[in-house]
Amino acid sequence: MRHRWMTLAGVLIAVALLAGCTRKPAGTTKAEKIVIGWAQWAPADYLQELSKEYTEETGTKVVVEQIPWPQFQDKIFAAFAAADDTYDIVVGDSQWLGRCSDPDSQHYLELTDWMNENLDVDAFSEAALINLGEYPKDSGRYWAVPAETDAVGFAYRRDWFEDPEEMAAFEARYGYALAPPRTWQELRDIAEFFTRPDEKRYGAALYFGKQYDTVTMGAQEVMWSFGGSYGDPETYRVEGILNDEAGVKALEFYIGLRKFAPQGAESFGIGKECVDAFNQGLVAMAEDYFAFFPGLVDPEKNPHATQTGFFPSPAAIGPDGEERHYISIGGQGFSIPRYSKQQEAAKEFIKWFCQEPVQVKWAGLGGFTANRNVLASEEFLKATPYNEAFAACFPHLRDFWAVPEYGELLTVTQTEWNAAVNGQKTAKAAMDAVAKQHTEIFEKAGYYK
């Protein structure tokens, strides 16, 4: 009896140990499988699809691990902090470059030399290469190979916009024709026009939410276009720049759009609620990254798929009367974590991916290529209903801070601006709070020494 017991305990312990040892053995020369960590969205599906060809050519299996947006950053950084070798390639956000390339972290391998030797660097769209791969700015040092470019854009209900009755009513009320807006001011008018709660219709589903970087991505492009900025990129001075008149007015304008959004809009996040609201026929316009728009042209998910049009994030007329046009950049590049045991295999894959024929296929699947030739091709522009609007964004792309402290900076803008959206704070108070906390973060990190 006792023997049986001991045996049982032994077996259980053995099982537990075995379970603990199910990790892949280290240091194989020929990679059987490489794992790419990316966020959960359509481009990741495309990449998985595309990689089948790579597997056919080389025998190396490619697994794209899709992490949902709210967890994306937390999970990848936890893996880095734990020196975990799960990922051979990480398709990381551009804001991460600073922290991951920092000499004290070295999460990313520096790819400068390898890229210059093995890739045609000039083939990349410059905006993509600089924003998605280079750190620090203008240093010529690369940490990532642009994989997917992206920008914030809008979907709109063509059937509502093109309804003659609506058009007439709109023109009568606002004095100009109803069409996809060129400026945020126009967008506001259209949103106001379509906001009819009794019909369960609202103007626009916008980036207001607290998850990850939602509200920041939405509000920052209005701030930039109004003439505001996060601060001086040379001195890192924030106070008086971020919360200047343009910044405060921009945020005031942005939170003013809340009343044209459906209930619960305070928590609308990236790639989810805005799209859901649009699919439900609740809103005339929905803001999201272009990469999420495949869900809007799929008739199974969007009953109005055929009646859906797209436009880039609009420009704005600032308090100074000038018109500017900035759009939040999205998209990511391939980086190789120092902890990967298959760095060479990872490089092989990236090299394969960047070949122009592969880029054509990538674009054909729906991927937003960074290859300037493919981007400019007629084929690409016509491939989806939204590619043309997407391509128009390129000259206007801009990014959040990419310094190593970006995570803390982002937490501040997310909390404060979301608080402003839901009426906890005035725009002025929120901007002042952001300026104060950003200054503290830079101070603590030693930027002012």
Binding site: L17, R23, A78, A79, D84, V275, P303
Partner: protein, 280 residues
């Protein structure tokens, strides 16, 4: 007559309570059986054409037949981690509870308080050093890592719960076995354990539910290899639009084992719930 009206009212109230508690669960099950368009329909649909699509797409890779999908792998991880950690926690808890119940130990009260106090420790407080520790030991994203952690997490509770049960078993039984020619260990296995079955069962239910549903540690300490279902299910959102149907299907599949286990153990549950705080 008055009494009958009263009891009728009580029964009606019980029915209402049941509806309130079960409606959200019914909604989960219903959602898991709906097509996407039915899920977000306004007004919400109570009658709809059920489909198993959500389940199929969650468990089967299209075209590849019976390959393990990410969800199936997570479910398997949950089964391995939750069951093994429950077995370890209950086994260690039983032994420790027995030792505290039967042997006199110096500073026993302090030890017992120490063990109980670890149960009060919020996971977020220890998760940082454990993260660092696991990084150093190579236990990050391993089954063993979570098993050890959940065992430690549950064992204090198990000791506490089981001590109450052990105290209720007269020590004469083991003493009889001792003079009958058995060693202390044999007496424990052959005489004490069979009588502690109810307590062990109740403790297992509580430990299993805790380990099965744990989220924070699993979120921080795993990536893919050892990830359990709770942090994964909210991530089945899909691309483009929230895939509530698949999330619901995952939830139902995830709830099922623990619900069945609890149902089987239900008669012990009520007893275990008094935590030995009531002497009978």
């Amino acid at each position: 007559m008055n009494g009958r009206i009263k009891s009728g009212l009580a029964l009606a109230a019980i029915g209402l309570v049941l509806v309130i508690y079960l409606l959200p669960i019914y909604w989960i099950v219903a959602t898991s059986l709906k097509e996407y368009s039915d899920i977000l329909a306004r007004p919400p649909k109570f009658v709809f054409a059920p489909t198993l699509r959500n389940y199929v797409s969650l468990l089967l890779v299209p075209g590849e037949g019976l390959h393990a999908t990410p969800f199936a792998a997570r479910l398997l991880n949950s089964v391995i981690i939750a069951s093994l950690s429950t077995i370890f926690a209950v086994a260690m808890g039983t032994m420790t509870a027995y030792a505290f119940s039967r042997f006199r130990t110096r500073g026993q009260g302090d030890w017992q308080f120490f063990i109980l106090s670890t149960r009060m420790l919020p996971p977020v407080v220890v998760v940082i050093p454990i993260f660092l520790m696991y990084r150093a030991l190579g236990l990050f994203d391993t089954h063993a890592g979570l098993i050890v952690l959940y065992t430690a997490f549950n064992v204090s509770f198990a000791v506490w719960l089981l001590k109450g049960f052990m105290d209720e078993i007269p020590k004469e039984y083991e003493e009889a076995a001792l003079v009958d020619g058995y060693s202390r260990l044999q007496a424990f296995v052959r005489v004490v354990l069979p009588q502690a079955v109810a307590g062990i069962a109740a403790t297992s239910v509580f430990c299993l539910i805790t380990a099965w549903n744990e989220f924070a540690f699993a979120l921080v300490l795993t990536q893919n290899t050892a990830q359990t279902a709770p942090p994964y299910i909210p991530s089945v959102v899909g691309s483009g639009a929230t895939e509530w149907g698949r999330i619901a299907a995952g939830t139902v599949l995830f709830l099922l084992p623990v619900a069945v286990f609890t149902f089987v153990m239900r008669k012990h549950l009520l007893r275990g719930a008094t935590f030995g705080a009531l002497k009978r």
